[in-house]
């Protein structure tokens, strides 16, 4: 493999693995605030114990998010030095702001939230949970601002030496792409949080243990799930797709597998793209729906890949096509599942309907897959550019870091992350197995996660 490919796999692997953790912590941070609010308002201790239980799972995920996140900030410089040299004056800004405005906030108040329940009043403890939530969502925002600039560069000048600088602050922060991407991404994070919470609830109810805790997790998880799954498709996904069609037509054509521009373009639900012959094999297509989804009318013309010069096609088209279909397919399933569960909850039959509890339990890995696939769409769809229309990916990597060196550290990360995965599974299994009613600290073996 050449150095460029290895640097791309290096970043793709480490970022994909990293994002398994923040998507849960961002979603869960919101749900923990909900639990703490319920505890404060009802005075019911079982909400406090529920919050403590989820804080333990949060803490393990947060730890892994932190230790796998530091390599991300380093890799811009280590593996993508040309990209950093030229665009650091722009994307360095949101990245530095993330450190200063979010990480300090998050780490300080997470310490208080996890270690300080006895030192703080209930309201102050609620506030520390709320500030951890703020920190994690602000962090997500700045990362998305940086990514959105790579997808859709705004508010910049190019200097004669090829370096980019920020021309004005607010247009960079108010990049419409960033806000659409942020809304879509955060609702995706809430989906992960909601699925994990409701599947642990389903597990407890199916096992007939933990009593009202299982039902509380199910109730909160399903309500958050219904809201976030709907928001994921409409309005956030819908608006994002339309914006994408306008600004990155080749990306959306690749995602949909549309080789030739067409009026009344069909929506391909399933199929295998054949790039040699520029067609979809075994297509399962619905006529005119794609035109309708993008332009609101069945006769509009949708740009196919033929409108884009061949050297600007996304470089790994089949992967782009499948990523999009996996994301969209799962998103649709989420609405159906959570809609049904919500209906049963409303009718008061959810806790007795074991068949749907089984479905909820078995579905917990799916939001991780959907979120990953969604990010793959964004990143592969942008290719061959690292900054859309400005810097090609092939001009962004560290040319003086050889393929051998890159493979060496990639293997290192593979090994390190395998160990982390095993530890993670063991620990989370242990926490879930112990359940939310573990006795207070002095008599039990707890850690940072015990409050």
């Amino acid at each position: 493999m050449d150095a460029l490919t290895l640097h791309r796999i290096h970043f793709a692997f480490t970022i994909t693995y990293h994002y398994l953790f923040p998507q849960l912590t961002m979603g869960l941070a919101l749900l923990i605030v909900v639990l703490k609010t319920l505890a404060l308002r009802t005075g019911n201790a079982h909400y406090d114990l529920s919050a403590r239980f989820w804080a333990r799972i949060f803490a393990v995920n947060f730890l892994l998010g932190v230790v796998t996140g530091i390599p991300m900030e380093f890799q811009f410089g280590t593996n993508w030095s040309e990209f950093s040299r030229r665009s650091g004056g722009v994307i360095g800004m949101p990245l530095a702001m993330e450190g200063i405005f979010s990480f300090f906030l998050e780490s300080a108040f997470l310490g208080l939230f996890l270690f300080g329940q006895k030192r703080l009043s209930p309201k102050a403890h609620w506030a520390s949970a709320f500030l951890v939530f703020c920190g994690s969502w602000i962090s997500g925002f700045f990362i998305i601002v940086a990514n959105a600039w790579m997808q859709h560069p705004v508010a910049y000048h190019q200097l004669p030496n090829g370096v980019f600088e920020v021309s004005s602050f607010w247009p960079l922060m108010l990049n419409p792409w960033a806000w659409l991407e942020y809304a879509h991404n955060m609702s995706g994070a809430v989906i992960t949080g909601a699925f994990v919470m409701s599947s642990v609830g389903a597990l407890y109810v199916l096992q007939r243990r933990e009593g009202e805790y299982g039902r509380t997790f199910l109730k909160i998880g399903v309500i958050a799930g219904v809201l976030s799954c709907v928001a994921q498709i409409f309005p956030t996904g819908d608006l994002h797709g339309k914006y994408l069609a306008k600004h990155q037509p080749a990306a959306i054509a690749g995602m949909e597998g549309l080789f030739h521009s067409e009026k009344g373009a069909p929506l391909v639900v399933m199929g295998q793209p054949d790039f040699e012959h520029q067609k979809i094999d075994n297509p399962l297509a619905v006529n005119k729906v794609l035109s309708f989804l993008i332009y609101g009318t069945t006769v509009a013309e949708v740009q196919g890949l033929d409108k884009t010069p061949r050297d600007q096609w996304p470089t790994t088209l089949p992967l782009l096509f499948y990523s999009y279909h996996i994301m969209a397919g799962l998103g649709t399933y989420f609405v159906a599942l959570m809609g049904l569960a919500g209906l049963l909850l409303w009718r008061g039959k959810l806790y007795e309907s074991r068949w749907i509890l089984w479905l909820i339990l078995m579905s917990f890995p799916l939001p991780y897959i959907a979120n990953t696939a969604g990010w793959m769409c964004a990143e592969i769809g942008r290719q061959p550019w690292i900054v859309y229309g400005l810097i090609r990916t092939s001009a962004g990597y560290s040319t003086h870091i050889g393929a051998g060196t890159s493979l060496f550290t990639l293997l290192g990360f593979l090994g390190m992350y395998s160990v982390l995965s095993i530890l993670f599974v063991v620990l989370v299994y242990h926490i879930i197995h112990e359940g939310p009613q573990t006795p207070p600290l002095e008599h039990s073996g707890q850690s940072l996660t015990a409050v």
């Binding site: 811009f76 030095s81 950093s84 200063i100 405005f101 300080a108």
Partner: protein, 348 residues
């Protein structure tokens, strides 16, 4: 504007060295100072609520460097590729060892993570010291402002150095000793009884070694990069930093003898800050000096982002850092005083 951002980054790095320095130092001496299970728990509790926040200074300083000096960030991070990746792996190991050890009662599980904690902390201190020494010594920059350093070559400074040579290894040893002492003093400050005494005694034992290597490091630096004394010749005011180094070392010695942990710890903070300031004063205005004839020094002016970008940055940086200092104030105030037996977290 450039000088201001140079000192902003320098101060953030100094904050990182002083703050994360003490928990790295605690990790370095952990196996030797904390003997019983109870002592180990107390030791971990002393750093538990703060180590993650301390580490954020590294990220914040890195982000600020990326934003204010993109060329330097791109050149240094890619050139130091191998040691940085090793640092990342060590940071991962250290983070998980602190947090995961107490998840099981099993003695082997805990012994394993105790070992990992000390191993990773000590090695991180060595690497950070060596990294700083690499910057002071200079790197073989090419005409394109990039370089790539192997981990070692012939262990000599000169036109083809490695990450590790006699000078940078000296820097690494200095760092592990200085941070070990710094961490011991923090531990003495936060604990009581036998543990406190043992921490004091380790600090006392490390002090002469720190003194000797500090004194060695000054002529060594002049030898490794002769023009590092240029600024001192033209601006003798800079000699205040070596003077402060000596004064702070003396303070530490006296305070340890009188068992005044707080004064000793602050002396150690001052020592680390003046060592760093002394190095920065020797470098200025270079941020990454070049050895060999192919490239030029990466100076402030050459690697600085555009003035407009930096003006914008100054506004949010000031607001953000004031907020950060406030958060740190709250956390350190709430967790002030000695660690008690039944404190929350890292329980039994």
């Amino acid at each position: 504007m450039g000088t201001l951002w140079f000192w902003i980054v320098a101060v953030m790095l100094a904050a990182y060295v002083i703050l994360d320095g003490f928990d790295l130092g605690v990790g370095t001496v952990y196996l030797f100072v904390a003997k019983t299970e109870q002592e180990r728990q107390k030791t971990l509790r002393a750093i538990g609520p703060v180590w993650d926040g301390n580490e954020v200074w590294l990220l914040a300083a890195g982000g600020t460097l990326f934003f204010a000096f993109p060329l330097l960030y791109a050149s240094a991070f890619s050139g130091f590729y191998l040691p940085l990746m090793i640092v990342l792996w060590l940071l991962i190991l250290r983070g998980i060892s602190i947090e995961l050890r107490s998840h099981s009662h099993d003695a082997l599980w805990r012994t394993f993570f105790d070992g990992v904690f000390t191993f990773a902390s000590a090695l991180l201190a060595v690497f950070f010291g060596a990294a700083l020494a690499n910057v002071v010594r200079g790197v073989p920059l090419g005409p394109d402002n990039y370089f790539f350093l192997p981990l070692w070559t012939n262990w000599r400074t000169g036109a083809h150095p490695g990450i590790l040579d006699w000078y940078t290894v000296t820097g690494g040893v200095l760092a592990v000793l200085a941070l070990g002492m710094h961490g011991s003093l923090y531990l003495a400050l936060k604990t009581e009884d036998e543990l406190e005494q043992r921490a004091f005694s380790w600090a006392r034992k490390m002090w002469p070694a720190v003194l000797v290597i500090t004194l060695v490091s000054l002529p060594a630096t002049a030898l490794a990069r002769p023009n590092s004394l240029e600024n001192y010749r033209t601006h003798p005011i800079a000699f205040i930093f070596p003077l402060l180094v000596v004064l702070s070392l003396a303070t530490i010695r006296v305070a340890i003898r009188r068992q005044r942990a707080l004064s000793a710890f602050f002396g150690s903070c001052l020592y680390l800050a003046s060592m760093l300031a002394g190095a920065a004063a020797g470098l200025f205005p270079a941020m990454l000096p070049s050895v060999g004839s192919d490239g030029q020094d990466l100076t402030i002016a050459r690697s600085l982002a555009s003035p407009h970008t930096l003006r914008i940055g100054l506004v949010w940086w000031t607001i953000g850092i004031l907020l950060a200092i406030m958060y740190f104030g709250i956390v350190y105030w709430l967790f002030r005083g000695k660690v008690s037996q039944h404190a929350e977290g890292y329980g039994h």
